[in-house]
Assembly symmetry: C2
Homo-oligomer: 206 residues x 2
Amino acid sequence: MEFSSKLLENAVYEMSQLPGIGKRTALRLVLHLLKQPEERTHYLSNALMKLKSEVNFCKSCHNISDTEICEICGNPKRDESLVCVVEDIRDVMAIENTSQYNGLYHVLGGKISPMEGVGPQDLNIGSLVNRVKEGTVKELIFALSSTMEGDTTNFYIYRQLEGLEITTSTIARGISVGDELEYADEVTLGRSILNRIPFESSMKAN
Amino acid sequence: MEFSSKLLENAVYEMSQLPGIGKRTALRLVLHLLKQPEERTHYLSNALMKLKSEVNFCKSCHNISDTEICEICGNPKRDESLVCVVEDIRDVMAIENTSQYNGLYHVLGGKISPMEGVGPQDLNIGSLVNRVKEGTVKELIFALSSTMEGDTTNFYIYRQLEGLEITTSTIARGISVGDELEYADEVTLGRSILNRIPFESSMKAN
């Protein structure tokens, strides 16, 4: 792609460094900003710079927060004995949206992945073990994605907790509510049969 | 979407104002920037701000340029008598990539579209008419998209040029090179038959 302006080329290059944004999309976004009033570019730049320089992660659960302890960890109404282990702050948002969970979280910041050079020391696993050692946590719920990396991470944490008094569970895998069986993949369908639950408890969930 | 941080919410909001970027994508992009070293955010912000504040449009053809007159208009090897009328600077880049055109351009900055509130006065049409009046231009090539708005814009410019000594042409519409006839849409195929060209000239083009 040949540019008629170095300034434009530079802006497109920087924009195209974002994940999933190719050169063409980057050009479209940059030209859009050029057509907008100058404030739009200011607001975007300032918001990104401010976030990057002032961002704070909760001391306890590592969720993004504007305060030292995030709103969830600081809420006395939440069940301190329950901690849900997730990969990313997007998972916290997804679970919070369900309004079905009243415990706390622990954001690992990724999964163990030797292929991508992510080891246990790169994740917030040490602080999770320390939280458990403090004694208030009674149950850990693993809510990582069910991939090889997710399973490895679950198992690594499980081994680190050996000897500590803690219950561990994983979120239920199965057919999505409202999905038809014939379109479900075999692994999910197979698991949902193996891990069937008493009909009475399924009635309570509705 | 509930955010645990105002800073994050603000950054995601500003990012999602870009065209084709929804809230979820914006969140993904912002979280990616958060994981990267601080320079990345600096570079992106600076490149956008610098472009917006220092951007310059060629005095003659309105293409984005770092200099008062763009490289194309300032190149003495290009044919001054030929001007290709395009909507957007992306069209200039697309035509330049073909290496088949040696004339100049005129970037309108859009198409006449009453639906979107874009009238002739919002486009660089006046300066095009002035360029033609100066007398060096012998032929205008309309290369706008062949939509209702594109056709309206072509016709509007055509009417403005009445009485001036100028040849006008439009780029050829037809079946894409390498495409099979059975998959072509009827309008394109129909036009390509009506506007057939002598076999000898098609041989020259290859």
